[in-house]
């Protein structure tokens, strides 16, 4: 449970039905991945297309991918005009 909800429970004795904003509302969604996007920094010209197209907001404006949450949908690789991202089969984490 998020800290704000714990505090709420302590302060008023029960938990309201209000949800609080939090990253990872569905957990570490990186575990959904089968293929992982790998960036070739040499080829990237920071056009920002992958940044705006990523449906999960996992790529920041410096074009760094957050693998904790990247779901491996492959949109960034498909849309990159420079072919700078490739989808690679991921070894299963234990």
């Amino acid at each position: 449970m998020p800290k704000r909800k714990k505090k709420e429970a302590e302060e008023i004795g029960f938990v309201t039905t209000l949800s609080v904003p939090s990253e990872g509302s569905a957990g570490l969604t990186g575990s959904w991945r089968v293929f992982i996007p790998v960036l070739d920094g040499e080829r990237c010209n920071k056009c920002l297309l992958c940044w705006i197209y990523c449906p999960e907001a996992c790529i920041n404006k410096d074009i760094r991918i957050n693998y904790d949450y990247c779901k491996g949908c492959g949109i960034c690789a498909e849309e990159c005009p420079r072919g700078a991202i490739s989808m690679v089969k991921e070894e299963k984490k234990q």
């Binding site: 449906p55 949908c73 690789a77 498909e78």
Partner: protein, 320 residues
């Protein structure tokens, strides 16, 4: 605005419950960047209700109400009136943007009465329909927005009826702003949201939202399918303000003759929901029907464009 000038701040938080390649979350990101933090949301029963808030956490940074199916227009009217009072009493300095976020089922079918009523009153809010052309959250049933010949779980041989066009119904309401948008054209979408934010009264924006599990294409093709929809003329980009429709981005380029219509077959073939049009055998009749409708629309628009240019040439010509 260029991509590099888009705000960096994310009001949609990563690690949500949306499917891989979800068009709903992709649209939310661009919309929220344009609208900013001072926005209050009414989310209508849809996939967004689900991925937006698995209690006790939420993927959205904005104050959000989860509302019942038929209530988009009504809840937003209420939120807007309440915000007006809070501003009048000095509790709020600036009125927040009131935003409804609803699916096509919640707009075309179930919510149209409340939306129409609110639009006729010109209630002050932005209504967004993200149109994935089916009831996706409950497993892809047909809606009034499902296109002709598309498979859904209750149109297994392809829908027999043509889709209706709620954006045009909203134009007919005479509201201050109506626009359509596509995920493949984020700068066009951003500009339309930024424009809508500046206007008072009912504003309607509809975003086509290609849904990988519902339309049966790989999750990596969401943007590609959205782009093909515009290039083939299946989805048209425009905005309507002061009684005037202006076509934008990819649609404008086709009308002005800078690019050619892509055959609709390319768009249909990219999606499993139209698979029965190509196998076991090619359904010439239905593919032809779809193509002809598009051709008629674009022939008329291209003709009007040429006529206008021609008249301008005559007007600009020096007097003899």
């Amino acid at each position: 605005m260029k991509l590099k000038d888009f705000p960096e701040e994310e009001l949609f938080l990563q690690g949500s419950a949306a499917c891989q390649g979800c068009p709903g979350s992709a649209a939310i990101r661009v919309a929220f960047k344009a609208l900013g933090r001072n926005t209050v949301l009414s989310v209508i029963a849809s996939c967004t209700s689900v991925f937006q808030s698995p209690f006790p956490v939420s993927a959205l940074e904005l104050p959000t109400l989860n509302m019942a199916f038929a209530t988009g227009g009504a809840t937003a009217s209420g939120l807007s009136a309440a915000a007006d009072r809070l501003v009048a009493r000095g509790v709020l300095e600036e009125k927040p943007t009131i935003l409804v976020w609803a699916g096509d089922g919640g707009t075309y079918d179930i919510g149209i009465q409340a939306l129409s009523g609110a639009a006729e009153r010109n209630a002050d809010f932005i209504y967004v329909c993200y149109n994935n052309e089916a009831y996706s959250n409950t497993g892809t049933q047909r809606s009034g927005a499902t296109p002709y010949a598309a498979w859904t779980t209750n149109t297994t041989k392809g829908k027999e009826e043509w889709r209706k066009d709620v954006a045009q119904i909203m134009v007919a309401h005479g509201i201050p702003y109506v626009a359509t948008a596509s995920l493949a054209y984020p700068t066009d979408m951003f500009r339309k949201f930024a424009r809508a934010k500046e206007i008072k009264g009912t504003r309607y924006i509809e975003i086509q939202a290609p849904c990988p599990p519902g339309w049966k294409f790989p999750s990596s093709h969401t943007i590609k399918v959205a782009r093909l929809a515009v290039q083939s003329g299946m989805w048209m980009l425009y905005e309507h303000e002061d009684g005037k429709t202006t076509y934008t981005a990819g649609t404008q380029r086709i009308i002005q003759g800078q690019s050619k219509l892509v055959p609709v077959e390319e768009y249909l073939r990219a999606q499993g929901r139209f698979g029965h049009l190509f196998s076991p055998e090619r359904d010439e009749k239905r593919i032809g029907e779809i193509q002809r409708r598009i051709d008629h629309v674009f022939e008329t628009l291209q003709f009007t464009h040429k006529m206008k240019e021609h008249i301008m040439d005559i007007e600009m010509a020096p007097p003899r």
